[in-house]
Structures are given as structure tokens and as C-alpha cells.
């Protein structure tokens, strides 16, 4: 299997789907001439032409709405946001239109659209550009939300998202674009939406996580192993639909869990998962489930404060030790 970057895995997914289905097209700021703000769409304009790879003005609400209309008319648009922080401007189209079309037209119209782009903090981009927004989108019925944490998942989930008949949001990690990993070359490699993956099997505590934090969880698990703690890392991959079975199976096995996420804790994904765990695995819990997340404040600009605000390997280890009563 080829070892490529997360960025190239997304590029492969787009190229393969543009190739496979003439109704697929990519649209967003700088996706064509500039090859994408993060070079995810490198070479696609050249290969597929400007009807399939469309540069737009800085009009998030406008091109998101155009995408929703195109999807209702039978095309399969992929809308790139330069960052999900800018997608907030397009929330009316995402939340009020895309999410509701199928329901409000009694199934007469579908909205097979993909919204994608980087989420969360990179480095010193300050409060307005460092938000992990997946929890807010996962709140709305009608939207599917996936958060790939590895290059292979990025490719498999984006391809599944493009082929799905409902609006799917793909939240990528800006700091993951350069991450390398093995990625299958099979053009029909897709990862079904709603299927979590055990990234590391363990017996003592479940670290439940998603997206950029998967890597952090694996590092924490490695460090815990040196202290004879066998941590299991479960990557949700899909936040909606949620693979509750895999989560519950893991908790029933280890009896202890920590939810690690990049976003804020309040009304976060961890809050939802903990609620589901206590409802479905209460009799298997040996300790309260803890959460590790970002500090409850806008992201600071200062490098040192930013580091303190973000979840860390150390805090994950501390939480694991606390649920293990160590």
C-alpha cells in the first residue's frame, strides 16, 4: 500500500470521484487556480476543467446556497470551506436548507452535497480561526458529520460522503494535512459512514476520541503502556451517525472510559457520548467517565496560553489514571 499524506489522500478521493461520476463537481475559494488553500485540490482544475472545479468569490453563504440548489437539481457538489470557521457565514444554507430539504419536501428532493474543510486550531491563529465546530453541526438532524483522523480514513470517508445521498460534513484537521500513512489505492475503497474503529486494542481503559485527537490518544496509550496500563483507543470517525455499539463494546470490555476531544466540553461530543455510555453500559462502569477537552474560553493567541488551552497527551494520561484510581 502506498504511503501518502492526508492532503494527497483527500486529493485522490476527489479525483477518483470526479472521474467516476460526471455529476460530481468541486467548488470553493481558491480550489482551482490556486490548487486549494491547503493544496488539497492540486491538479484537479487542469485535469477536469473549470466546469468541474469552480473558483468562487469570498461568498460562503452564496456558494454554499448554489451547492444546495445544484444538489437538489441532481448534481453532487463538494463545497470546500477554506476553514470551518468561515462556514459559520454559510450556516443558514447548511443548517436551514441542506439539512432540511429531504424532510421538508417529504422525500421529493434529496440533497447529496458534501461540505468539507479544515477544523480546529492550528498554531496561533487566535480565537476566530481556531474552533473545532463538529459538535455544533452534529447537533442538527439531517446532517451527517465525519472527522477523519488518518490519511486512509480521510480518503475512505470523503469518498463515502460524496456517494451519500444526504448532506455530509467532512471536518479535516489542518495540522493533519502533512501527516503520512498507508492508503489503499482501490478506487472503490470507501469507509461506511457510522462505523468507528478500534485504533489500538486494550483492556484497562477506553480512550474514546475523534479527528485530530486520535493521534494524541495513541501517544497517550503508548506512554500509559510503559506504566502497565493497557489503553484501548476507539476512533469514532463518524459523529453522526454514531457507532454506539463499538463504543459500548469497548466500555463493557474495559469498564472505564475517557472522552478526548479538541472542542469545548460544554455540549460537546464527549457530553453526548458519556450520556449514551451511562445509558447503555451503566452496569459495566467501574468509575465515572471523564472528559478531556479544550479550556472553556476562546482560543488565546499567545503560544504558551494556546498550548495550555488545548487538550494534551499529559492531560489524557492524567484522566486515564484518575478513572483507574491510580
Amino acid at each position: 500500500m502506498a504511503v501518502i499524506t492526508y492532503r494527497d489522500a483527500l486529493n485522490q478521493a476527489l479525483a477518483e470521484e470526479l472521474e467516476r461520476d460526471p455529476d460530481v463537481f468541486l467548488m470553493g475559494e481558491e480550489v482551482g487556480q490556486y490548487d486549494g488553500a491547503y493544496k488539497v485540490s492540486r491538479g484537479l482544475l487542469e485535469r477536469f476543467g473549470e466546469r468541474r472545479v469552480v473558483d468562487t468569490p469570498i461568498t460562503e453563504l452564496g456558494f454554499a446556497g448554489l451547492g444546495v440548489g445544484a444538489a437538489m437539481a441532481g448534481l453532487r457538489p463538494v463545497i470546500e470551506f477554506m476553514t470551518w470557521n468561515f462556514a459559520i457565514l454559510a450556516n443558514d444554507q447548511i443548517i436551514n436548507s441542506a439539512a432540511k430539504v429531504h424532510y421538508m419536501t417529504a422525500g421529493q428532493f434529496s440533497c447529496p452535497i458534501v461540505f468539507r474543510g479544515p477544523t480546529g486550531a492550528a498554531l496561533q491563529l487566535s480565537a476566530q480561526h481556531s474552533q473545532a465546530l463538529e459538535a455544533s453541526y452534529a447537533h442538527f438532524p439531517g446532517l451527517k458529520v465525519v472527522v477523519p483522523g488518518t490519511p486512509a480514513d480521510a480518503k475512505g470517508l470523503l469518498k463515502a460522503a460524496i456517494r451519500d445521498d444526504d448532506p455530509v460534513l467532512v471536518l479535516e484537521g489542518e495540522v493533519l494535512y502533512a501527516m503520512k500513512g498507508e492508503v489503499p489505492e482501490d478506487p472503490d475503497f470507501v469507509i461506511p459512514l457510522g462505523v468507528a474503529e478500534v485504533k489500538r486494542a486494550g483492556a484497562d481503559v477506553s480512550i474514546l476520541t475523534h479527528g485530530k485527537m486520535v493521534n494524541l490518544a495513541l501517544q497517550a496509550a503508548e506512554r500509559l503502556a510503559k506504566d502497565d496500563v493497557d489503553a484501548e483507543v476507539v476512533d469514532l470517525r463518524s459523529l453522526r451517525p454514531l457507532d454506539l455499539d463499538r463504543v459500548v463494546d469497548s466500555v463493557r470490555k474495559t469498564n472505564r472510559a475517557v472522552y478526548l476531544e479538541e472542542g469545548w466540553g460544554y455540549s460537546g461530543i464527549g457530553a453526548e457520548v458519556v450520556a449514551q455510555v451511562q445509558e447503555n453500559a451503566f452496569d459495566w462502569l467501574d468509575a465515572p467517565v471523564l472528559r478531556v477537552h479544550q479550556t472553556d474560553a476562546p482560543m488565546p493567541y499567545s503560544k504558551e496560553l494556546e498550548k495550555l488551552a488545548k487538550p494534551s497527551v499529559e492531560r489524557t494520561i492524567e484522566a486515564c489514571n484518575r478513572v483507574l484510581y491510580r
Binding site: G265, D283, W284, D286, L290, R291, Q294, L308, E318
Partner: protein
């Protein structure tokens, strides 16, 4: 912060405990979970575990002395901490666990001893950590609440263990999985239960009005448990032969089974066939146990204790024998844990070895019956119309009439006699 060492309720019925020996002395370093002392309860000698770490600063109860449950019998603290206030106020149970619990409203979030939250300016990292515990049980057990994780509660129920008899090693004394597993693992080398899949569920049968009236009248008639007795005599020739053959096979392993082990097995299998006897009177319901745990009366120096052979119906005779001897040995040394002598569903008492031909045994509530086994005697018996000498044994069952009626008890004893007279029938 100083941790008071309390006299803990190490058995469910314990009201006071005698300090057998301190395993740590004043000035010794103590880690949480270390064994501090041995305490003799009303049933056994148990270990007292440290609930905090530091130095054992004060020993407030001498070896050989007794103290009420809850009394402060020692103090663990930092080497330089002032503990005079604790030492002065120690002794009375009132100053015990309850007073030790930090004013704890149910559900109130409190600083955990594991990760103290100090909102000082130098602690920005911890403050900003975003690590939250969804629920922290208040420390201390002074409010009488039994703290156990949901998992520990389920495991204890599945294994028929009384949570109150288990010491918790989690925060605030919370009983967690490892504590329940430790309690189960206590009998060393306990045999593995086989064929457990065939067990029935425990069920409660609602008591009919007629049954209630019968129960009430019978209680008025005789004592709190309306007991009646049924006696059978069995020809145990084949049982003795079976024992001989089994022991010949076991010889190479250096093991032996006794006649009593075979009787226990026969009783357990008969109980499995008659779940209405493997039952208990609970007032509004009769509980029919899904598992067969047979208590074996063992005489100890100052009384009687009944180690429990759990799931005796699915255990081999050799396993039963090994378990009985191992537990009886520890019973004499007062080393049985509460879960090893509680939770029987039926009991057997055997005075045959003392030459007692026949006797009646006292029911151990809430069980509904007990078998009194007499001595095997050579007696004239009629076999195929001829008088021959046969080894005969009398078995008397004491029955709780609220649960077991005469005919019901008789049917159970008929099954038992089949097994005693022709042990191969147990395999049916």
C-alpha cells in the same frame, strides 16, 4: 490531610472488633491499600486496609482490645502534621467515619484526593485542563451509604456476594471491580465451575393468600420458623462401593473423597431437581434460587460455622471434597471471609462420624431446609424377600413449612434416596 483509621464493619453483623495485631507501627510509612492490622470480627479474622497514605502517626487501640465499629483506632498523616485534635477526639464512634466525611451534599462536586484542584495562579495548567469528572462520590462512608460502582454491584449480585462484606479500594472507599474479584478469588485453588450454562434463573414466586394464611397459622403454632421433620433410611452399600472406586482412582493424585462429599453432591443434584425446596421464605414472595449453594456445618472451637460450596450441583465430587477440607481448615483458624460462609441456599449437617444414629438439625434462615445425616450402621434389611445385613443410613430433613410441605419434602427425599442407593442415577 490526616486520615483517621476507623474500626470498620468487616462482616455484615459485626458491631465491634478485637485488634489481633498491628502490622504497622507508629512511625511506619503507609501507602493506600497497605494492610494495617488484623481484626477479629464475630466470624473471622480480617485484614484492615489503609484508606490513606502517609505515616502511621498514632495507634489508639492496643492489641487484644476491642472497639466499636466506627471508632478511630489510629491516625495516618504527614510526618510533621499536627494531629493532636484528632487524637484528643478519638475513640467514640461518633467521632468516627461520619465526622470525617467532608460536608458532602449528594452530587456535590468536591475536590478529589487524587487530583486536588487548587485555583491558585500557579496552577493555570490544572485549571485549564478541561478534565472534568462527571460525578465524584463524596469521601467517607459515615452517612451509611454503601459506595460501589455500578459494575461492582452487578458482579457482586451475580456472584451472590454481599457488598457490605467487601472493603472498597476506590475513592472514598468505593467498592470497585477489583475488590469484588478479590473477594471471589479468596478461596485459594477453588475449583472452576463447569456446566454453569445449564443453571436456571433465580425467580420469585408470588405468595398466594392461602399460602400466606398457612404461613401465619404455622408460625403461631411453632416458633418463628414452623419446622417439621421427615426421615428416610437409605441403603448406602452402592454409595460406599462408589467411594471405594473413586478413591482408588484418586490415589495416584494423593486425594480422597469422603462419604460426606458424596452426600453433598447427591443433595445438590437433588436440589437442582427440586427447585421448590432450594428456596427461601421472604414474606410476600418465595425466592427459588437459580443456583445451588450448599452450606456444610463445621464444628469450630467456640461454635458452628457453615462454609458454602457454591454451585455444588455442577462440581465434581473430588472438587467438592477439596473445597470442604480447605474451607473447614480455614474455618477452624477463623480465616473464612464472610462471602465464604454466607449465601447458602440449603445446608447439610453430618454427625455420623460421632456415631449419632439420627438427629434433627436447626434450620439456618433464610434457608428452608437442612439435612441431618446419621451414622452408617450394619442392619438387617429385607432384600428380595430375604433378611440380609446391609449398611443403612438415616437422613432427617428439617423443613420450613412456609415453603416446603410434607409431600414436597418427601418427593425431594425420595430423589435423594435414589441417589444415595444408586449413585449412578445422579447422572440422569
Amino acid at each position: 490531610m490526616a486520615t483517621k483509621v476507623h474500626m470498620e464493619a468487616l462482616s455484615p453483623t459485626m458491631e465491634e472488633g478485637q485488634l489481633v495485631s498491628w502490622l504497622k507501627g507508629e512511625g511506619d510509612d503507609v501507602a493506600e491499600g497497605d494492610i494495617l492490622a488484623e481484626i477479629e470480627t464475630d466470624k473471622a479474622t480480617m485484614e484492615l486496609v489503609a484508606r490513606g497514605a502517609g505515616v502511621l502517626r498514632a495507634v489508639l487501640l492496643a492489641e487484644g482490645e476491642t472497639a466499636e465499629v466506627g471508632a478511630v483506632i489510629g491516625v495516618i498523616a504527614a510526618a510533621d502534621e499536627d494531629i493532636s485534635a484528632i487524637v484528643d477526639g478519638a475513640g467514640a464512634p461518633g467521632a468516627g467515619a461520619a465526622a470525617d466525611a467532608p460536608a458532602a451534599e449528594p452530587g456535590e462536586q468536591q475536590a478529589s484526593a487524587v487530583a486536588p484542584k487548587d485555583p491558585g495562579p500557579t496552577d493555570a495548567g490544572a485549571e485549564a485542563s478541561g478534565v472534568e469528572e462527571t460525578a465524584v462520590a463524596p469521601a467517607g462512608s459515615g452517612d451509611g451509604r454503601l459506595r460501589a460502582s455500578p459494575l461492582a454491584r452487578r458482579l457482586a449480585e451475580e456472584r451472590g456476594l454481599d457488598l457490605a462484606s467487601i472493603s472498597g479500594s476506590g475513592p472514598g472507599g468505593r467498592i470497585v471491580k477489583r475488590d469484588v474479584e478479590g473477594a471471589v478469588a479468596a478461596p485459594a485453588g477453588a475449583p472452576v465451575v463447569v456446566g454453569a450454562g445449564a443453571r436456571a434463573e433465580t425467580e420469585s414466586v408470588k405468595v398466594s393468600q392461602m399460602r400466606k394464611a398457612i404461613a401465619k397459622r404455622l408460625v403461631q403454632s411453632i416458633g418463628p420458623i414452623p419446622t417439621f421433620y421427615l426421615t428416610i433410611e437409605a441403603d448406602v452399600g452402592r454409595l460406599l462401593e462408589a467411594r471405594k472406586r473413586i478413591n482408588a482412582r484418586l490415589e495416584s493424585r494423593g486425594e480422597k473423597v469422603s462419604l460426606n462429599d458424596l452426600i453433598l453432591k447427591a443433595t445438590a443434584v437433588a436440589l437442582r431437581r427440586h427447585p421448590e425446596v432450594n428456596a427461601s421464605w421472604q414474606g410476600d414472595t418465595i425466592v427459588r434460587y437459580g443456583r445451588v449453594h450448599v452450606g456444610v456445618a463445621v464444628a469450630v472451637q467456640d461454635g458452628l460455622i457453615t462454609p458454602v460450596i457454591r454451585d455444588a450441583d455442577v462440581k465434581g465430587v473430588a472438587d467438592i471434597g477439596r473445597e470442604v477440607r480447605e474451607m473447614a481448615g480455614r474455618a477452624r483458624e477463623k480465616k473464612l471471609a464472610p462471602d465464604e460462609y454466607q449465601g447458602a441456599t440449603f445446608s447439610v449437617s453430618n454427625l455420623g462420624m460421632f456415631g449419632i444414629q439420627e438427629f434433627t438439625a436447626i434450620i439456618n434462615p433464610p434457608e428452608s431446609g437442612i439435612l441431618a445425616i446419621g451414622a452408617v450402621e450394619e442392619k438387617p434389611a429385607v432384600v428380595d424377600g430375604e433378611v440380609v445385613v446391609r449398611p443403612r443410613m438415616r437422613v432427617t430433613m428439617s423443613c420450613d413449612h412456609r415453603v416446603v410441605d410434607g409431600a414436597m419434602g418427601a418427593r425431594f427425599l425420595a430423589t435423594l434416596r435414589d441417589f444415595l442407593e444408586d449413585p449412578v442415577m445422579m447422572a440422569l
